[in-house]
């Protein structure tokens, strides 16, 4: 059944393939995070103290900071690359898609780097 991503990627190694794989991986990661996010927010039903305990747990330690920052990277990439796909399609600029892929990557990297001071 199904698709062999590794084989496909090796056969068609170009910006479009990298974009496809990274969009899919970041998308799946964000879906899993969304479920966890709503679950942890549900502690607000217990009490504001219980909610703050969870929130403080996420905001403590190098490991959790790294996880939060990686989630930011996933959101930034998924967003810029997704907007690139929509722009290529709706604005009729598919011929610029490769350049726009690098722009999406640079924007992701720049904002992610600048945000280190916020997340760590």
């Amino acid at each position: 059944m199904g698709l062999d991503y590794i084989k496909e990627a090796k056969l068609n190694w170009h910006a479009g393939m990298v974009s496809f794989l990274a969009q899919r991986i970041s998308g799946v990661a964000l879906v899993l995070y969304l479920v966890a996010h709503i679950y942890s927010l549900s502690f607000s039903q217990v009490s504001s103290e219980a909610f703050d305990k969870v929130v403080k747990g996420y905001a403590a330690g190098f490991f959790m900071h790294t996880v939060e920052w990686l989630l930011l990277v996933a959101v930034l990439f998924h967003m810029f690359n997704g907007l690139r796909i929509i722009a290529a399609d709706w604005l009729g600029i598919t011929h610029l898609q490769r350049g726009m892929f690098w722009i999406a990557g640079v924007l992701t990297g720049a904002i992610a780097l600048a945000s280190v001071v916020v997340f760590f």
Partner: protein, 129 residues
């Protein structure tokens, strides 16, 4: 590249893009108030703590309830529809596809109800509830 979400119907495809654009703007605001805002307020070490969430909801309860409600709705639609897009890439049988559709709707609706039920709590944070 044109139909990145797979063989979906027209409406699912266009809604995936409309929610994408809303999420791009909405998540920037979401991240700003819950992470970056602390850069401008030395007292605010963790902006997602209940007192800051509560203060925000106290200031404009209608705006933040509607905003967070829309963010929840669009994020869940985009997420569940995105997963179904992946499922469709594997050419599922009719039966398997319909099991996926019903399961994703059930999960999405459950998370929607849970998420929505939390919003009044955020308003109540201001009263120390």
């Amino acid at each position: 590249m044109i139909r990145a979400v797979g063989k979906q119907t027209g409406w699912a495809w266009i809604l995936q893009r409309i929610t994408a654009i809303f999420l791009a703007v909405g998540l920037m605001i979401h991240f700003w108030v819950l992470h970056y805002a602390k850069l401008f307020d030395p007292e605010m070490t963790i902006p997602s703590e209940s007192r800051w969430v509560g203060a925000r909801f106290f200031e404009s309860p209608l705006f933040w309830t509607v905003f967070d409600g829309l963010l929840l709705t669009t994020a869940l639609y985009h997420a569940m529809n995105g997963v179904y897009g992946i499922v469709q890439d594997y050419n599922p049988s009719k039966k398997a596809a319909s099991i996926w559709v019903w399961s994703l709707w059930a999960l999405g609706l459950m998370l929607f109800v849970i998420g929505l039920s939390l919003l009044p709590r955020f308003v109540a944070f201001t009263t120390g509830g």
